[in-house]
Symmetry: C2
DNA sequence: TCGATACGATACAGTACAGTTTCGTAATTC
DNA sequence: GAATTACGAAACTGTACTGTATCGTATCGA
């Protein structure tokens, strides 16, 4: 029962990375609408057959690339909640604008809403892990006594991420306010009413 | 220079309304992806020629219908901000789920982001007016002394609408919490930190 | 050397859809 | 009643894809 070393010419790893690289490049340049399999093959200098030898469909290729694209994200943890939140928002803004997420996220949101295969995998591999990380961050702050006891963590995650997503979706509608992130954080922490 | 009364058979107003009605119905049922001109014609009991006699393209038809669809919305005004906000959120949730906006909004967000003709008109006719109404509502509350002086109204609008949009986009990911709206409002008004 | 698999290139099949055109018929103005 | 426009039906054109198949060639294990 030897681990059968496959016979025949082995797959070229450079081809695989050329394909995923081409997908990322095209996402960045032409967005999701202009991303065709012919364009990927052309950009990667690769034949379409080589793509379909590795991925069964365009959707599987996309999920693969997008999931990896969104993997490396560290949560700031200085111990001071306000600073952590502002820093987090800045990172989210950077990430969302970096890869033309304005093209990707609306499409993925529609997929999630439609509960398609692509949408489910995007939710599992991209959205839910991030929400879990945020929830963990808030839980730690709660343990440190920085949050009210009756704050619902899930709702808080919505309160934090919702405005960022919205801002990215509608970004071009108004002038961008460099103080937006700290204003949001202070609004969240201290509330609209009463106070100072 | 008489106002030339056009010669020939006049257009049937019933045909026009059948078309727009079919578009709304299809948006409701199959969403934007399944909305083809053949489907519209079939559903309306009308020939495609009659559609293209009235609208030059699918996009123009869509803009027309969507703009009218989002026209009538009243802002609650009981004078107590908290109740108004909760009621407002409920109306937004109802509106967004009513017409399968989960299909429409992501698509329109992508259009807005791409600054296409369709996106610009959607922003002008649907998004911006609503934001203005919300800003007015908050300004009144501010005049009544219910809000902190240093609250940025624009950011506040983001804080209010962002979570609702997000919740709608990702709606199917988690169990729905009937107390979500009041939790959000209380979180906004009283803040995460300090307090009670 | 031989069988098996990968590769690029390219043609091909299949599908889906926007928008156009044709045709026979109905409504309206002059 | 003649010219003109609207109407439904349906065929048609053009396009833009996804995914498959074919072919000659290259690279591996046995």
């Amino acid at each position: 029962m030897t681990m059968s070393t496959r016979v025949g010419r082995p797959r070229d790893a450079a081809v695989s990375s050329a394909i995923t690289g081409a997908v990322m490049s095209l996402l960045h340049n032409v967005g999701l609408s202009g991303l065709t399999m012919d364009a990927v093959a052309s950009k990667a200098g690769v034949s379409k057959a080589s793509i379909y030898r590795r991925w069964a469909s365009k959707d599987e290729l996309l999920v693969d690339v997008i999931a990896n694209l969104a993997s490396e994200t560290a949560i700031p943890a200085t111990g001071r909640l306000r600073d952590d939140l502002v820093e987090l928002l800045h990172r989210m803004e950077a990430f969302l604008s970096e890869i033309e997420a304005g093209q990707i996220f609306p499409r993925m949101a529609a997929e999630v809403h439609a509960a398609s295969e692509l949408g489910l995998r995007y939710a599992e591999q991209v959205i839910l892990p991030r929400r879990a990380m945020l929830a963990g961050m808030l839980s730690e702050a709660h343990a440190r006594g920085e949050l009210r006891d009756d704050l619902d963590i899930d709702v808080a995650v919505d309160m934090l991420t919702g405005p960022v997503i919205l801002r990215m979706l509608l970004g071009r509608l108004g002038p961008s306010d460099p103080e937006w992130a700290p204003k949001l954080v202070d609004g969240l922490l201290h509330g609209w009413a009463g106070g100072r």
